[in-house]
């Protein structure tokens, strides 16, 4: 656009060219400065809280106007790592998250396939109803669930915790794979039938591999949702099953803020690791390749 402006000016009045070029350069600079400012603000919003959290986990005292902590210390870390509960809560979290993810996949993936491939009465209603668990404040749901759980003797049991954590995973474990399944063109499945594959083999060799990236994303989100779930787990599981996030609940109440910061950093580790692990598969060209084919 700017090149065009310059050309226009040159053809009509050659003498004016240097001035207009200077304004173009200035406009370019201004645009670049604007972009830089935008990116800085964006980064502050995304990265800022994380940096602040990390700093806080190592801070002794930190008073209001100062940009950096006044004193540095590792005592919060030793306090958290030395506490007897930590080891068992980490272990518990690492048991619950995979169990919940797998149970969620077993329940939701067939449902996702049905949503994607079949037209049945109440299909739209059920799809939207899945959002219902996320539409209300969770704590209200948990409190009313607690009544049911008491009568079913699920309070304080492993099963009870798994069920309460499942709730938060249902939506993406159904919606994301359903989108992934319906993105697989039917003609690809028909071609496999035509080549001699029975329906279950068509699913195993064509539909599932092509939907796998979407399913993988759903499983990661389920894992993290289960791993980070605190309220319901605390309500149903305590005192028998106390996971990392529910431990943090107690810490936030009973200890200085820095301890919670240390815990947050610890809780973030699995998320970061998981995303780093699967990034290659999720973002690799295969998914994009599939969409190039008409």
């Amino acid at each position: 656009m700017s090149a065009l402006d310059t050309a226009d000016v040159r053809t009509t009045a050659p003498a004016a060219a240097p001035t207009s070029q200077r304004t173009n350069i200035l406009a370019g600079l201004a645009r670049r400065a604007g972009l830089a400012a935008f990116l800085t603000i964006f980064a502050l919003f995304v990265v800022g809280p994380l940096v602040w959290l990390a700093l806080r986990a190592f801070s002794g005292t930190w008073q209001y106007p100062h940009l950096l902590p006044d004193t540095w210390t590792l005592k919060w870390w030793t306090q958290v790592l030395d506490s007897a509960d930590l080891g068992s809560s980490i272990r518990l979290s690492l048991v619950f998250a995979p169990v919940v993810t797998i149970v969620s996949a077993i329940i939701c993936l067939p449902a996702a396939y049905a949503f994607a491939r079949y037209e049945f009465p109440g299909r739209r209603f059920l799809l939207v109803a899945l959002f219902a668990t996320n539409a209300f404040p969770k704590i209200g749901l948990f409190l009313s669930m607690a009544g049911v759980f008491y009568s079913l003797r699920l309070m304080g049991t492993f099963m009870g915790v798994v069920i309460v954590q499942l709730l938060g995973t249902l939506v993406f474990m159904t919606w994301l794979p359903a989108a992934a399944f319906s993105a697989v063109p039917r003609s690809l499945e028909e071609a496999a039938r035509d080549a001699g594959a029975r329906p279950w083999r068509v699913f195993a060799r064509v539909t599932f591999p092509l939907a796998a990236p979407g399913i993988l994303v759903a499983m990661i989100l389920s894992f993290l949702a289960s791993f980070d779930e605190a309220q319901g787990t605390f309500l149903v599981g305590a005192p028998n099953y106390v996971t990392m996030p529910s431990t943090m609940y107690e810490l936030v109440v009973n200890y200085p803020g820095q301890v919670a910061a240390v815990f947050s950093v610890l809780l973030a580790i699995p998320s970061v690791l998981l995303i780093a692990l699967v990034r290659k598969h999720v973002m690799s060209g295969r998914l994009a390749e599939g969409f190039q084919l008409r």
């Binding site: 063109p185 690809l188 028909e190 039938r193 035509d194 001699g196 029975r198 060799r205 390749e289 008409r294």
Partner: protein
């Protein structure tokens, strides 16, 4: 007719008997009968929505017919699922599996049949050689051109040695130049291995140039089943006449044994249809509109060069539609008032 009977041996092949399908209260295919001889290539030609693709999908097993039966080499297959039919289909969008290599795509069906590894390799190699794609054996479908994808799809179908090959608009996603080349390749391969083939297309050029016989379909029925030249020379219905080739349609009536009355003029006609007396519609191919000599008066509207020939657009007195005539390049240009006659005309009852 003679060319098709040499290519095809009698008996066997594909037989469709009284095939019918209704979808959403609308009859898509209606009492369709068709016999494709062994080794013959039959085109289902028709406008979109005429039921040609539904017919093909019923043969493949993806659509269950409401009535009728399908026989392949004398064996009924009507109730078999697609994976148990001796048919192989080439899909309109090729439907190659993007997560497999070209080898994986072609080998898929053979591996399902639990053939030994070296036999799979040999047969895939042979199939890819047949379509001239041996060098792309390890490529991904997304990394080869549209024409090459089409040939992989063909190899994937042929490697299973099906009794019937089904092609669903195989050329519609290719650009014009490539279309002609791949079209000739498909015909050449089909004749070399002598496979019974049904090809669905809406493109009359495609049908006329590859088929042994063409079934012109309209609203779920076959209007005419004939050789390409038979279809062009003797279109039996007005629909076929309009769909295959170019045709001038002129409402009128027979004036005598050697002339037709159209609008306010009487045009001499060397060869008149016997089927129409009284008012009707005459179909005249542009190459059968002869300019010069004796005949009815007509006015030249304009001339359009068309490469190998010229198209002369004429106006007959009292006739709204233009009359098109194809004139060889060598003939000197004409203008103003000319005389026209028809060397041949087809007649159809009006109102159809």
């Amino acid at each position: 007719m003679s060319e098709s009977s040499t290519a095809a041996t009698p008996g066997g092949g594909l037989v469709l008997r009284g095939l019918g399908k209704t979808l959403g209260g609308r009859s898509i295919v209606d009492g369709l009968d068709l016999t494709v001889a062994k080794g013959e290539l039959v085109c289902l030609l028709g406008p979109s929505g005429c039921g040609k693709t539904t017919t093909l999908r019923m043969v493949a097993g993806f659509v269950e017919p409401d009535q009728g039966e399908i026989l392949i080499d004398g064996r009924p297959v009507t109730t078999l699922p697609p994976e148990r039919r001796p048919t192989a289909m080439v899909f309109q969008n090729y439907a190659l599996w993007p997560h497999m290599t070209v080898f994986g795509n072609v080998a898929f069906g053979l591996k399902l049949r639990k053939l030994p590894k070296n036999e799979v390799r040999d047969r895939v190699g042979a199939a890819l050689e047949l379509v001239g794609l041996s060098h792309h054996i390890d490529s991904r479908p997304a990394h080869i051109s549209g024409g090459e994808q089409q040939r992989v799809a063909l190899a994937r179908a042929l490697v299973l040695e099906p009794q019937v090959l089904l092609l669903d608009e195989p050329l519609s996603n290719l650009d014009a130049k490539l279309r002609v080349r791949v079209r000739d390749e498909i015909r050449e391969i089909q004749q070399r291995i002598g496979i019974t083939t049904v090809l669905v297309t809406h493109d009359q050029d495609e049908a006329l140039s590859v088929a042994d016989r063409i079934a012109v379909m309209n609203s779920g029925r076959i209007e005419q089943l004939d050789t390409p030249s038979g279809l062009y020379d003797e279109p039996r219905t007005r629909f076929v006449a309009g769909f295959v080739g170019t045709m001038n349609f002129l409402p009128g009536s027979a004036a005598s044994d050697t002339s037709v009355r159209i609008g306010n003029v009487t045009v001499p006609c060397d060869q008149l249809p016997v089927s129409v007396d009284g008012p009707g519609v005459f179909g005249v191919r542009p190459e059968n509109v002869v300019i010069g000599g004796v005949g009815a008066a007509a006015r030249v509207v304009r001339e359009v060069p068309r490469g190998h020939f010229r198209e002369v657009i004429l106006a007959l007195d009292g006739v709204e539609d233009p009359l098109r005539s194809y004139v060889p390049v060598g003939v000197p240009p004409v203008s103003g008032e000319v005389r026209v006659r028809f060397s041949r005309a087809h007649g159809y009852p009006s109102g159809v």
